[in-house]
């Protein structure tokens, strides 16, 4: 018995009236864990019962602790008939199982019923006593920390980043079991909720085991998904990145009590998994071998594109012995791994060496229930296949690793599209193995890698390129080759030099497909996929050029399959990387040049496009230091200008000329509008309206070019469903409908949030699904963050000062992602103003602008380095505060004391990994919740909109309540992974499934930081204390 779970039921409030006669309720509570159930007394005739129960104690295996949720059921006692259930609360006790997180769960939880929604609240206290001999229990993986955040969590330091972990569990879906025909919808929903809760617990435990086996102590970038395969079953799968994390003990936050357990964990039990470590889990409640097995009887693998736009290379050739060493080391470190994948999207400085480009793979499978239980697990095989493909794509790009990796599925009836994508990359080996060699290697690395452009340099062999690309010498360091365009799935590296601001870029596409069955259907889909990929890619490229930008970050392409159509939606954040060449314009070419009016039309379009590009450059403040005017003037540079540009380049190297010429020719992106389709494309290019002034949007964590976030944030979810009229179902009409849907949705968001201007929509995440033949559903989750416009107009001086401080912080915290780096300006800003200044000052000198510019930035860099060393002794906390993007005074004015006079503490939610203007002091554990809501009185609940609106509000409420009960005041890296909505208006019914996750945290406003740091021991040692305050 390695653990004792203790539960106390304190009170209820706002219960529903269960007895019409008295308008009151006789409530009691059942507390269930595993197979043990306790009951409280019946509290007669009250809507606000005070049970104040004894401590109910469950003695359980830690394996069960990990798998099972605590189930609390509130019932109405009825003497003569069956007791009526009021609702349930499921509490995941996982956060109590590792010592650094929460120590107690205590607070008001909404009582939830799948038919009626939230019905009052219940106050519960939960504690776990873990017995100390963790060592013997190898089925469990208590102590492994899980984070949804796709970067190293703020108050930790990555000692080693081990790599990819994955697992999946399958089971029969209770909704499709025979028993479902005779049980109530409520019973069926609850069976599903409970099963999924169990399965995710089991999955998490199994992943934990793998992490222990790799000698890690945490999973970062943990992403768990459900595949509702209908008849053929239910798959829960998860991927993540195993790491060994060390809690940062900054002087102010030093806390022996909290630190020691983690050390213990690292040193003793976890590092030495016993040999019998990973047996199959025969005693698991959900046996992977029982029930239905899933397999394929048909499968098509789709050839996928590797996106062009990669880095410059050079590597093997000129790098000399050092590079070879680096390569060798990294490779050896990674080759041990089956899949050198990382779900992280942001990395410790120096981790990412080069980025190759986006790699993706898709495959179409037919789902089928298989009756032979001995058949090997096919889902595993499917994913392994896809991952192999990704791995080989990465290899083709000269990369040994894939970062920003993610997997997804789209299911329609028995067809399933599996997709995986990531960014091929070369990584620094020092994080991948024990850091013994760190010292000298690190030193050399830094000498060799110019900050701000290193990751853009191509990793592959220039003479043996995997695809046609136009290489130039890096515009930043002039030493290595870079591609003309770079696409990635990761966040913008913090040291990247960016010019201007970024913006959200979307490619949207629909393709009709004939309805078909089984193999024919799968074949039809897999035939369509490559075309869709190609078109999505073209659209992205066009839109990127239209914005005058040259790189995409956070690229996410979602292909959704429906009965009679396929939808593609790609979202990414476009930026202008200073290291890459200025993008050329878009030139339109018609096919029938003799037709006068046609030509006129063409030139009209051309003009419109040119105007748009010019406007966008202004809007996003893209003023590259050189040749900017020429580019703005005409998208296709005239030969004279081009040659000037070339001369300036040739000074740095002789051999460039040839390559650059070719680049020059291709500079203009030619769009041939030879048919109506292409015409449509051009039109659609121009119909995307920029956000209203004061608004910016991106789908990455932070917006390049904005660095002065204020503390006001608003996370939201918006859902739209449109019905297509079946009459006009052509590809064009579809595309237009879909485009309008997305654009209108964005417009609505801008309007709704207008009071927050100036603000930026960050982490905009679109999800498309096709619930029925003629229905398109788009779900958007994002966070709006306000920023201070006045502070944006800071002088060059403060910029440089800031960057100095930042650099010193970098040095100090090495592997940690310091908060201010994310909320602060992206490193571009120290430089551009300085450059302009320099340029104007020495405009008469003979040195070409580009050259001067390069020099100056190099000088800056060297200065920075020197500063860094001198400032080495600055305390972390101090720098954090000083480098904070917001003035302190400003802070004080804005942040009202939290929950000063409210009864319910405010819990912030954000899809980002940080909270602007605040410091995360503690991670309390992962939140992973699954809810089903069903109604048989759709009209009475306000129709589909009323129903879903209420449900989403309830889901938010339940997430907040759980976080508050853990003692937290925010959820970071929040994501709504699934929102499956089905309706049957004729029967007045609807059902919705929602799956959300995130990391519960405690944050402290930076303005309050000083106060807290003096009281640090109390604040840190007693998280329950903090919790109490929040929930009072």
């Amino acid at each position: 018995m390695p653990g004792k779970l203790k539960v106390k039921i304190v009170a209820g409030r706002h219960l529903p009236v269960m007895d019409r006669a008295s308008d009151l309720t006789d409530a009691f509570v059942e507390v269930k864990f595993g197979n043990t159930t306790f009951k409280t007394d019946v509290y007669l005739k009250s809507l606000n019962p005070q049970w104040n129960s004894e401590w109910f104690k469950f003695e359980v295996d830690d394996e069960d602790l990990q798998d099972e949720p605590l189930q609390i059921t509130v019932l109405d006692h009825d003497t003569y008939s069956a007791n009526d259930a009021i609702g349930k609360v499921y509490i995941d006790i996982d956060p109590l199982l590792y010592s650094e997180a929460a120590t107690v769960i205590s607070g008001w939880f909404p009582i939830y019923d799948t038919i009626h929604g939230i019905r009052g609240e219940i106050n519960v206290v939960v504690k776990v006593d873990l017995f100390n001999d963790l060592n013997r229990f190898r089925q469990s993986s208590c102590g492994v920390k899980f984070f949804c955040t796709t970067s190293i969590p703020k108050c930790y330091r990555a000692v080693i980043i081990h790599g990819f972990v994955e697992e999946l569990v399958v089971n029969e879906d209770p909704e499709y079991q025979w028993i479902d025909r005779i049980r109530t919808p409520r019973a069926s929903n609850e069976a599903r909720q409970r099963l999924i809760s169990l399965m995710s617990g089991e999955l998490q435990r199994k992943i934990g085991l793998k992490v222990l086996e790799m000698r890690g102590n945490a999973v970062v970038g943990y992403l768990q998904c459900f595949d509702l395969e209908g008849e053929s079953g239910l798959v829960v799968r998860a991927i993540g990145t195993a790491c060994t994390l060390d809690k940062l003990s900054s002087p102010a936050a030093f806390l022996p009590a909290c630190n020691s357990p983690s050390k213990e964990m690292k040193e003793s039990p976890l590092v030495h998994p016993p040999s019998h470590g990973c047996r199959s889990t025969h005693n698991s409640p959900i046996h992977t071998a029982t029930g239905s097995r899933l397999t394929q009887n048909f499968s098509v693998s789709v050839p996928t594109l590797i996106y062009t736009g990669m880095g410059s290379g050079s590597a093997g050739k000129e790098g000399g012995p050092f590079k070879a060493l680096l390569r060798q080391q990294t490779q050896s470190a990674l080759e041990q791994r089956e899949f050198p994948f990382f779900t992280l999207t942001a990395f410790p400085p120096g981790f990412l060496v080069h980025v190759g480009g986006v790699v993706s793979a898709r495959s179409v499978k037919l789902l089928d229930r298989i009756h032979n239980p001995d058949e090997p697990e096919t889902r595993d095989a499917w994913w392994a296949e896809i991952r192999q493909e990704i791995k080989s794509h990465a290899k083709a790009l000269g990369c040994h690793a894939v970062v920003g990796y993610s997997e997804s599925t789209s299911i329609c009836e028995e067809v399933c599209i599996l997709s995986a994508s990531g960014t091929a990359a070369v990584l620094n080996p020092r994080f991948l193995q024990d850091g013994t060699v760190e010292g000298c290697l690190e030193q050399r690395l830094e000498e060799n890698l110019p900050a701000g452009c290193g990751f853009c340099h191509i990793p592959y062999d220039e003479l043996n390129m995997p695809f046609p690309a136009h290489l130039t010498y890096c515009y930043n360091c002039r030493k290595q080759k870079v591609p003309d365009v770079l696409f990635t799935t990761i966040d913008l590296p913090i040291d990247a030099t960016v010019i201007g601001k970024g913006c959200l870029i979307q490619a949207r596409l629909c393709r009709l497909k004939k309805k078909a069955q089984a193999e024919a259907n799968a074949t039809a889909i897999s035939n369509l996929l490559p075309f869709m990929e190609y078109e999505v890619h073209t659209q992205l490229m066009n839109k990127l050029k239209l914005k005058g930008m040259n790189a995409l970050f956070g690229l996410r392409i979602q292909i959704t399959v429906g009965e009679n159509m396929l939808m593609g939606l790609a979202s990414a954040t476009g930026v202008y990387l200073a290291a890459l060449p200025t993008p050329g314009g878009i030139q339109i070419a018609g096919k029938t040049p003799n037709d006068g009016s046609y030509e006129q039309h063409i030139s009209h379009m051309q003009k419109k496009i040119n105007d748009t590009i010019a406007k966008n450059k202004e809007l996003y403040e893209i003023n590259p230091p050189e040749v900017s005017e020429e580019i703005i003037g005409s998208p296709i540079p005239e030969p004279r200008q081009r040659s000037r540009l070339l001369r300036s380049q040739s000074e740095s190297s002789d051999e460039v000329t040839e390559l650059d010429l070719s680049h020059g020719k291709k500079d203009a992106f030619v769009l041939e509008i030879d048919d109506t389709d292409a015409m449509e494309d051009v039109h659609s290019l121009l119909t995307d309206v920029p956000p209203p002034s004061g608004f910016y949007s991106c789908n990455t964590e932070i917006m390049p070019g904005i660095n002065n976030w204020t503390s006001e944030i608003q996370m939201f979810t918006s859902v739209r469903v449109i019905r297509l009229s079946s009459l006009n179902l052509t590809n064009q009409a579809l595309n237009k409908n879909f485009n309008d849907l997305c654009e209108n949705l964005l417009k609505s968001l801008y309007f709704k949030l207008r009071s927050m201007i100036p603000c930026c929509l960050c982490h905009v995440n679109f999800t498309v699904s096709l619930p029925e033949d003629e229905l398109i559903q788009v779900t958007v989750t994002a966070v709006a963050i306000t920023f201070d416009k006045n502070q944006a107009l800071q002088t060059t001086k403060t910029h440089v000062e800031k960057s100095l401080q930042r650099a010193s912080t970098d040095n100090e915290e090495l592997l940690q992602f310091p908060l201010e780096l994310c909320s602060d300006s992206l490193p571009s800003h120290p430089f551009p103003p300085a450059k302009e200044h320099l340029e104007s000052a020495s405009s008469n000198s003979g040195i070409p602008a580009a050259q001067r510019d390069r020099c100056s930035s190099w000088i800056e860099l060297i200065k920075l380095k020197a500063q860094t060393i001198r400032r080495g002794s600055i305390k972390t906390t101090v720098t954090v505060e000083k480098a904070s993007p917001m003035g302190e005074g400003n802070f004080r004015n804005r942040s009202a004391p939290p929950c000063a006079n409210s009864t319910v503490g405010v819990v912030k939610m954000t899809p980002l990994s940080f909270i602007p203007g605040a410091k995360i002091t503690k991670y309390l554990g992962i939140i992973n919740m699954f809810f089903i809501r069903e109604t048989t009185s759709l009209r009475e609940e306000g129709g589909v909109s009323g129903f879903l609106h209420a449900f989403i509000a309830e889901v938010f409420a339940m997430v907040r309540a759980h976080v508050a009960a853990l003692g937290g005041n925010a959820v970071v890296s929040y994501i709504m992974k699934q929102c499956v909505f089905m309706e049957n208006p004729n029967k007045n019914q609807a059902q919705c499934l929602i799956n959300v996750s995130g990391d519960a945290v405690v944050f402290v406003r930076e303005s309050e930081l000083e106060v807290v740091s003096t009281q640090q021991p109390t604040a840190n040692c007693q998280p329950s204390c903090t919790g109490g305050e929040v929930t009072t």
Binding site: W108, L775, A900, T903, V906, V944, H949
Partner: protein, 359 residues
Amino acid sequence: MTSELDIFVGNTTLIDEDVYRLWLDGYSVSDAVALRVRSGILEQTGATAAVLQSDTMDHYRTFHMLERLLHAPPKLLHQLIFQIPPSRQALLIERWGYYAFDEAFVREVLGKKLSKGTKKDLDDISTKTGITLKSCRRQFDNFKRVFKVVEEMRGSLVDNIQQHFLLSDRLARDYAAIVFFANNRFETGKKKLQYLSFGDFAFCAELMIQNWTLGAVDSQVDDMDVDLDKEFLQDLKELKMLVADKDLLDLHKSLVCTALRGKLGVFSEMEANFKNLSRGLVNVAAKLTHNKDVRDLFVDLVEKFVEPCRSDHWPLNDVRLFLNQYSASVHSLDGFRHQALWDRYMGTLRGCLLRLYHD
């Protein structure tokens, strides 16, 4: 292409003040959209009508969901479904006005029984006042809800209302007046009372609650602030001797006249009318034993006192001087023993009459 479903849910519930007001005023979504368009919001923001429609619908849906909680404001504070900063919660309830009401509306229902029958008249009231039926219903239901909750409660009426509906002192006093009037069914709708505002009545209600109810004597009884002190009303009969006893009446008159001679612009009118006025005021008191007459209190006061004075063009200051002297002089009437009773009656009545005396 039609929008089947269109929702926006924020972690912090977004509340647009303007839309909230439109909703409270009972406008339908399409009317609200039209009004917003007229306000020039499209030009300001560059939004389209479709966006505005979607936004308005969304807000209306949110308000509809919030309404259940607004019915019991303390629930709004404790509920978990909508995360609304405390400052905003207060705005919802009071300043932006779920519990705010229209003067025109409250004048129509003041003193009426808050029952289904009255609810049926809301149609007419809506037509008459130009306030939308929905808004009338909300206001009526608010009155009724507050009435039901505090009707049988101990303690100060105003405090109870504040505590259970989280209203400001000012608004709680208004509701107290409404509850008090509804409970005692004072007639306020007669034509001759039309010149009186809700404020006039609320002022009187407050004085009466303070002095004439059970709570004025004993703070530990149920209904203390809602019901008039029956014993007191019964005792008021004793005042009758002030007018029934001719000597007493003459003495009273001479005392008042002596004191006011030269000070009153309308002295001769006062002198001529004294007995009528005094009879009126005392008879009103004596009649208060009957519920019917309690209801007609304001009608009587206007008929017996306000109108005669007004027809003689008494300035307000003269009325004040007269009433002060009229009340005070009774203390010098040796044969009259009910001084305390008189003060309890006249103290309140004097305040009320002064408030009621205007055009």
